[in-house]
């Protein structure tokens, strides 16, 4: 019954948005910043507001019937306060602006974190933001950053959905609302495959890398027989009753992975991307240096989060 009703309401809304774009403001996506103004804020009474209206009507008729002027005066006052609360609901949204959206990184299927930057000159309270299934409520003084989690399904550019911003401040009797449809897309990375073989590296890359002492000084330790004299920290040892030796961090020597699109001929397109994504992830996790060769693009050897992000983003936008 309830779900039927909801489905009916949903269908009515879809119809209304198709037939009455002016009413629901099925707006084209627009560039940021978006500032809410009176031309795009709508106000409707809530269910509670309608109920309260009926109650006010009952009080009004009762006061008139019993010629009870004191009650009539207070009923009028409550009614006028209700009307004023409608204006306050409008004022909660009016002048509010969405100045920017920053998107985090996420692979397809995982929620993507959006940071929405809202600003307003006056302080606002109880502003709500609905995004698909998520609903947030926030107060605002000056600027605020709001974190939203956006569900993703597939890699590539994802247009931001329409956000509903609304408020039933201060009494919950009226609901002022507006749509925010930012003209912005976020990039969703491909989802790495769950498990698979390691990359088959070309023969010349298989040369055993000679272990090399690390370059960075890690710590001082006590002298042990066999330590090279040039590693003794003489200055530090002078203040100590034993000899101290500089200990160097020696990272495990790693092969460089040269990941190539063409090496995965046996797989279909998405599977290739998923595998490459997994290898990229593994390489980054293991601290390897890696490069990526794609049909029309080549990313040179590198490592670190920026390199990883560049590789993943390139994979994400593959046709």
């Amino acid at each position: 019954m309830r779900s039927n009703l909801r489905r009916l309401a949903q269908r009515a809304r879809v119809w209304a948005e198709r037939r009455l774009p002016a009413l629901t403001r099925l707006r084209q996506p627009e560039p940021l910043p978006i500032e809410l103004g009176r031309r795009r804020i709508y106000i409707v009474p809530t269910t509670f507001g309608l109920g309260f209206g009926v109650l006010l009507l009952v009080m009004l008729v009762g006061a008139l019937n019993y010629a009870n002027n004191a009650a009539l005066l207070l009923t009028c006052m409550l009614g006028a306060a209700t009307a004023a609360s409608m204006l306050l609901a409008f004022r909660t949204l009016d002048g509010l602006s969405l100045r920017g959206i920053r998107a985090g990184h996420a692979v397809a299927g995982e929620p993507l974190e959006l940071v929405l930057d809202f600003a307003a000159q006056r302080a606002r309270e109880s502003v709500r933001l609905d995004c698909a299934s998520e609903s947030l409520a926030f107060a605002l003084q000056g600027t605020t950053e709001l974190r939203l989690r956006l569900a993703t399904t597939r890699r590539g550019w994802l247009a931001l959905p329409r956000l509903r911003i609304w408020s039933s401040w201060p009494l919950g009797l009226f609901r002022a609302w507006s749509w925010l449809h930012p003209q912005q897309s976020v990039l969703v990375w491909p989802r790495p495959e769950a498990a698979g073989p390691p990359p088959v590296l070309p023969g010349d890359a298989r040369e055993r890398l000679r272990p090399q002492p690390g370059e960075e000084l890690a710590a001082l330790r006590d002298y042990r027989r066999g330590d090279a004299p040039r590693h003794i920290a003489w200055k530090a040892s002078a203040r100590h009753h034993d000899l101290l030796v500089k200990d160097f961090d020696r990272p495990e020597p790693r092969e460089t992975w040269r990941l190539e699109w063409d090496a995965l001929r046996a797989l279909d397109r998405e599977a290739r991307i998923a595998r490459l994504a997994r290898w990229l992830g593994d390489a980054e996790a293991q601290g390897r240096r890696y490069s990526l060769q794609l049909p029309h693009e080549r990313i040179d050897i590198g490592s670190g989060p920026a390199h990883y992000a560049r590789c993943m983003s390139t994979l994400a936008v593959l046709p």
């Binding site: 560039p31 940021l32 910043p33 009176r38 809530t46 269910t47 509670f48 109920g51 109650l55 009952v58 009080m59 009004l60 008729v61 009762g62 006061a63 008139l64 019937n65 019993y66 010629a67 009870n68 002027n69 004191a70 009650a71 009539l72 005066l73 207070l74 009028c76 006052m77 409550l78 009614g79 006028a80 306060a81 009307a83 004023a84 609360s85 204006l87 306050l88 409008f90 004022r91 009016d94 002048g95 000159q121 006056r122 302080a123 309270e125 109880s126 502003v127 709500r128 609903s135 947030l136 409520a137 926030f138 107060a139 003084q141 408020s167 039933s168 401040w169 201060p170 009494l171 919950g172």
Partner: protein
């Protein structure tokens, strides 16, 4: 929406809901039976303690029996569930029980809107200024509770500070509320029956038993307010007649209402016009100063010139009358004489004997008999007290020869019986006597405690003459009022300076009654008289109301739509420059900084290149060079902007 409605209440919201209910309970407490009030208050307190301290819910098995107990106790106390008092008690009880199951925002919303309704119901019992103000203040906790239900508020302030926004909201609503109050068309006749009051208000009754007034004499709520055309009559002439009682059954005097008799003739020598504003009495009698010449609309004159309204006075009633203060009432008694000599057989033998002995002694001199009776009261060791000893079967015998203490009812009753025993037509009249003259408001305030009983005797050639035997015993009662007559016997709030302050304060109540409570359909029709419209009919009123609402909304929207930019002169100057440039076809794009914009403008308007570059440097310096811009550089910028020429682009 549904999700947020089902969220559990946070402690602050719950506190405010409980506070709102406590306010409702406190406002209704005066007319609830004390045990119900105490029980509901303890349920409220326990529930608050349980949820706040124990974080527990009320078990379901407890709710239904409590509800049943509430219904049963109300039915057993009042006799039914409907009507004003039981209805209000039921509403308050249900509201308090609602707190037992208040767990979510939806529950709280329902509870708080019902609380608003119940608060209004408190005004059915008392519509004075104080009551109305208290109820208006009682609206604050429900409003604050509704406000606290909205998620995403800033950190809530202290509990009492939560009430302030509601106050502001109500204050902002006041202008529209007043307009709506003035213009809402009143009903000429009620849609359904007036509320029946379970309890009879203590007031004048059509039956007088000695010592029956005691309730009334300590009730100092206002009974009527009277304004006079011309100076007010002196205190000893301020007798307001209500009932003329002719029938005595040995214990009480009764008034018999016979509707279709012509009023007896009166020969008026001096008349006075006055306006009475009568507080609701639930009775039909309209007290009048002395002998009224005609009845006001909606009422009629009875035989002995009592004024009886067509309907009980359930709300404030205003009427204007003309009365005779010096008169001859019913100069010829005729065949009705026997009626005013009626005495019950077998009562008060000693009193009757005394009356007959006077007749024997004074012969046909009725006036001398009256004087003898007054002398008896004055010199016979009688005492004025509001707490007299109880009287037995032969009440007048006991009073005259035994207890010799009492107040107006005793004296008027005994006097009338004596007169009748002596063969003089006599009757008891009840009403009000005295009152407080409020010089500031120019009106006489008569309280219920000014209720009084006196006698009228018929003397040949004079007609009915008022005789007040109480005055013989205690002249202060007449000249200075009830409080002066019985010092130390009245409640503390009726004596001394406090009473005089309350008398002065009463002018506010009068204004309230005149302006608000007395604003009925009739007054509303005359609303536009100052503008030359004699009769404002309901459709005109509705139209005016609609216009007023539209105007109020327009004013509200104007307030809402006004954007308050921060007062930043440099920015204002830049805006001005932007407008000038826009007229030349270089509008600033969204997201374009002032530097980029002015550089672009300089490129596009080569003629103004140098000026624009200079303006840009000035602006940027003002903005970013100093933490506080200097006033000279600001003025320089403003001047430069003002002097910037607008040259139409000729393409």
């Amino acid at each position: 929406m549904t999700k947020s409605a089902a969220t559990p209440l946070d402690p602050r919201s719950f506190d405010l809901v409980a506070f709102g209910l406590a306010a409702v309970l406190a406002l209704h407490a005066p007319h609830l039976p004390w045990w119900l009030g105490v029980t509901l208050a303890s349920i409220l307190g326990l529930r608050w303690w349980q949820r706040r301290r124990q974080r527990a819910r009320t078990p379901a098995w407890l709710k239904l029996p409590l509800l049943a107990a509430l219904l049963l106790s109300i039915v057993s106390w009042y006799g039914n569930l409907f009507g004003q008092a039981p209805g209000a008690a039921l509403a308050v009880g249900l509201l308090v029980l609602k707190l037992l199951e208040t767990e979510t925002a939806r529950d709280a919303r329902v509870g708080m809107s019902f609380a608003c309704f119940t608060l209004m119901a408190a005004l059915l019992f008392d519509q004075s200024l104080t009551a109305t103000t208290t109820v208006a203040l009682g609206l604050l906790p429900p409003l604050a509770a509704l406000r606290s239900l909205e998620p995403g508020r800033r950190a809530p302030p202290a509990l009492w500070r939560e009430l302030l926004p509601g106050f502001g909201l109500l204050a902002a609503a006041l202008p529209l509320a007043l307009l709506a109050f003035l213009l809402l068309p009143r009903l000429n006749s009620p849609l359904w029956g007036a509320p029946n009051t379970g309890e009879q208000r203590t007031g004048l009754s059509d039956r007088m038993t000695p010592a029956g007034f005691t309730q009334l004499l300590v009730d100092d709520s206002p009974a009527l307010r009277v304004g006079f055309d011309g100076p007010p009559p002196p205190p000893d002439l301020r007798y307001f007649r209500a009932y003329v009682m002719g029938h005595y059954d040995g214990s009480s005097w009764t008034y018999r209402d016979v509707a279709n008799q012509l009023p007896v003739p009166v020969e008026a020598a001096q008349t006075i016009r006055y306006h009475v504003s009568l507080e609701p009495t639930r009775q039909r009698v309209l007290p009048t100063l002395d002998v009224p010449l005609a009845a006001p609309p909606g009422a009629s004159l009875r035989r002995d010139r009592e004024v009886i309204a067509d309907k009980p006075v359930d709300s404030l009633r205003d009427y204007t009358l003309e009365s005779a203060t010096r008169y001859r009432l019913e100069p010829k008694l005729g065949r009705h004489r026997a009626r005013w000599l009626q005495l019950p057989a077998g009562f008060d033998p000693r009193t009757l004997a005394l009356g007959r002995s006077w007749r024997a002694r004074y012969g046909s001199d009725d006036a001398a008999i009256v004087q003898a009776a007054l002398a008896l009261f004055h010199d016979g060791g009688f005492r004025y007290t509001l707490a007299p000893a109880p009287l037995g079967r032969d009440a007048m015998d006991d009073f005259l020869f035994d207890t010799r203490e009492g107040f107006c009812e005793h004296y008027s009753s005994a006097f009338t019986v004596l007169m009748r025993a002596a063969g003089i037509p006599a009757r008891v009249v009840t009403g009000y006597q005295g009152g407080y003259w409020n010089a500031l408001g120019g009106y006489l305030l008569v309280r219920n405690s000014d209720a009084h009983a006196w006698s009228e005797v018929w003397l040949a050639g004079h007609g009915w003459v008022r005789v007040d035997p109480t005055a013989a015993v205690r002249p202060q009662r007449i000249s200075m009022g009830a409080a002066a007559a019985a010092p130390g016997q009245l409640p503390w709030y009726q004596s001394g300076w406090l009473q005089s302050m309350r008398n002065r304060w009463d002018i506010v109540n009068r204004w309230w009654n005149l302006g608000v409570n007395g604003f009925d359909a009739l007054r509303q029709r005359g609303l536009l008289k100052p503008f030359g419209i004699r009769d404002t009919d309901p459709s005109t009123l509705a139209l005016l109301l609609a216009v007023a609402c539209v105007l109020a909304m327009a004013a509200g929207l104007a307030w809402v739509w006004r954007r308050r930019e921060p007062e930043d002169p440099a920015r204002t100057a830049l805006r001005q420059l932007e407008r000038k440039l826009a007229r030349q076809g270089v509008a600033r794009l969204a997201g374009e900084g002032p530097r980029d914009y002015l550089q672009r403008a300089a490129r596009m308007l080569p003629a103004q290149h140098d000026r624009l570059t200079e303006l840009m440097h000035r602006y940027l310096e003002l903005r970013y060079a100093h933490p506080e811009p200097t006033s000279e550089s600001l003025r320089a910028l403003q001047r430069a902007v003002r002097d910037f020429p607008v040259v139409r682009m000729v393409k």
